[in-house]
């Protein structure tokens, strides 16, 4: 019965809108439903006949358009920089392709996967561990990928620390850590509001750990190895500022949302700048990535001769430090966290008309657009 009335009503509405019928002719056509139809059709006509509200203020419309185009350009530039931010050596790419295929078989078997979980670079099953990570990332939902990137960053840091304790400085792991954290920062803005806070807090925790580890190692490293560690510390600092900026924008309800006018000053929490290590870098020139197994000087109590790290001739720029330049986060596009009203501009709560003049549909007067 309801379905029949739905279909009759919809048909009448369509015919009336097309000018093929009138309300009266529809009621004559369906006498059994005329009483119900009359109310519904008249109400629909009432809504259709109501004057529309005035369009968006022309100045604000133009300002929003300008802001959108700036944002789009910023995103385009950031995407263009992304490949350079995560350089992967060719041998590792080829190796990852082979290992990923192998890892698929291992996952089915299961035992090799669990055994690889605690391996370190250089171990036989370490490639399996890395391949499993790639598989997890590939099949993870978008909102889970940030968690994986943080987890992988923690793993690389743990591997770096363990190797450093053995006297090996795997600086390529520092590059990978930077790549993981860069990926997190790029993906955070697309996350739901409630996830952003959690991910950023997790990232801050990781950065604390990373900086602790790097400061200890920097104090005992020498030469190119020390320079690499210092670079990683600087990268971590820059990203900490980005995280602080993002945390400020994703603060709990009560903060101001986006507005077409220039954004308010960021009022989020700020992270104290990490204390700079007292050891100075050896040279401002950054050599290219040294041998991953470059050694660091062992503690004085157990000093023994160790081979020097290989490094490229001076003058070659180090292009292996991927990190977003400080301040790269777009400050021109404040996003209103969901559910937050603009406190700076007084207006009636949602669903409630303002104090403007009564209007047929929502009590809004029609106003001419500005020239």
């Amino acid at each position: 019965m309801s379905d029949e009335l739905d279909a009759i009503l919809d048909g009448c509405l369509e015919d009336i809108a097309a000018g093929r019928e009138t309300i009266a002719s529809c009621l004559r056509r369906y006498p059994a439903q005329a009483e119900q139809l009359a109310v519904l059709l008249k109400t629909a006509e009432h809504v259709r006949a109501a004057s529309p509200p005035a369009p968006m203020d022309i100045d604000k419309r133009l300002a929003l358009e300008s802001r959108l185009l700036q944002r789009a350009e910023h995103l385009r530039l950031r995407a263009a920089q992304r490949p350079a931010a995560r350089p992967v050596p060719a041998w590792r790419r080829r190796f990852a392709v082979v290992a990923a295929s192998f890892a698929m078989i291992v996952v089915l078997i299961g035992s090799a996967v669990s055994a690889s979980a605690s391996t370190m670079p250089g171990d036989v099953l370490y490639p399996v561990k890395r391949a499993v990570e790639q598989v997890r990332l590939t099949f993870a939902a978008e909102h889970q990928q940030t968690d994986l990137h943080v987890e992988f960053a923690r793993r690389r840091l743990r591997e770096f620390r363990v190797l450093a304790e053995r006297g090996e400085l795997a600086t390529d792991l520092l590059d990978e850590i930077s790549g993981e954290t860069t990926a997190v920062l790029q993906q955070v803005p697309a996350l739901p509001q409630d996830r952003q806070q959690a991910v950023l807090t997790s990232l801050v925790d990781f950065q604390d750990q990373q900086e602790q580890v790097l400061k200890v190692i920097a104090s005992s490293a020498q030469g190119d190895a020390q320079a690499r560690v210092m670079t990683a510390l600087a990268d971590s600092e820059a990203k900490r500022k980005q995280v602080a900026d993002l945390l400020g924008r994703t603060a709990p309800p009560g903060d101001s949302p986006a507005n077409v006018s220039p954004p308010p000053a960021a009022g989020g929490e700020t992270q104290p700048a990490p204390a700079k290590p007292t050891v100075k870098p050896v040279s401002p020139d950054r050599p290219s990535l040294p041998d991953p197994r470059a050694t660091i000087a062992p503690p004085a109590t157990a000093r023994k001769p160790t081979p020097k790290a290989e490094h490229t001739p001076p003058g070659q720029a180090d292009k292996s430090t991927p990190h977003a330049p400080p301040g790269q986060v777009d400050k021109a596009t404040p996003h209103a966290p969901p559910g937050q009203a603009n406190k700076s501009i007084p207006h009636a709560p949602p669903g409630q008309g303002g104090k403007s003049k009564p209007h047929p549909l929502g009590e809004k007067p029609t106003k001419a657009p500005k020239p």
Binding site: S2, D3, D6, L9, D10, V39, L40, T43, A44, H46, V47, R48, A50, P52, P53, P55, M56, D57, K60, L64, E65, R67, L68, L69, R71, A72, E73, L75, R76, E142, A190, Q193, P253, A258, N259, V260, T333, H335, P338, G339, Q340, A341, N342, I345, H347, A348, P349, P350, G351, Q352, G353, G354, S356, P358, H359, P360, L361, G362, E363, K364
Partner: protein
Amino acid sequence: MRQQDEGQLIQRARQGDLTALSELYNLHVDRIYKYVWYRTGDDQTAEDITAEVFLRAIEGLASYTDQGAPFIAWLYRIAHARIIDLWRGAKRRQTAPLDDPLLQDVLVETDEAIEIDFLQHRSLGAALRQLTDDQQNVIILKFVEGLSNAEIAQVLEKTEGAVKALQRRALATLARLLDQ
């Protein structure tokens, strides 16, 4: 705009063509603003949410996929989600007496006295906002925005049959509210 033309426009916008992006914006901003305005009843809120809709659209454009629905259907969904967030936020802060929006809507302060007259100041918009979320969407999208049932179904991710049923219930409820 034909689906094919719109698809090309979106593709160009994805590739960084700012002219295409500007065109997409100008094609849809008025409709989105109107939809949000009817849902919220306030100029400033409508402007804020419209801005957020298009900013989020730009950020998500790379992952947007054409599933047979017009681009505006996607924008309506973003706008709808933002409106829901706004209501949830207002409810959490308890700044809006959601149980009596008509009272707030008709409160008028005059030089002589504060007068509350439901019969005099009742508005279609206020009645509209008494409907359920789905009912509001159907009424606004169908009778204000002029979308077809099929398009509304795509926006709301419902069947056309469900849209027709919502339409009938919404009109019946609206008629009852306006007669009170």
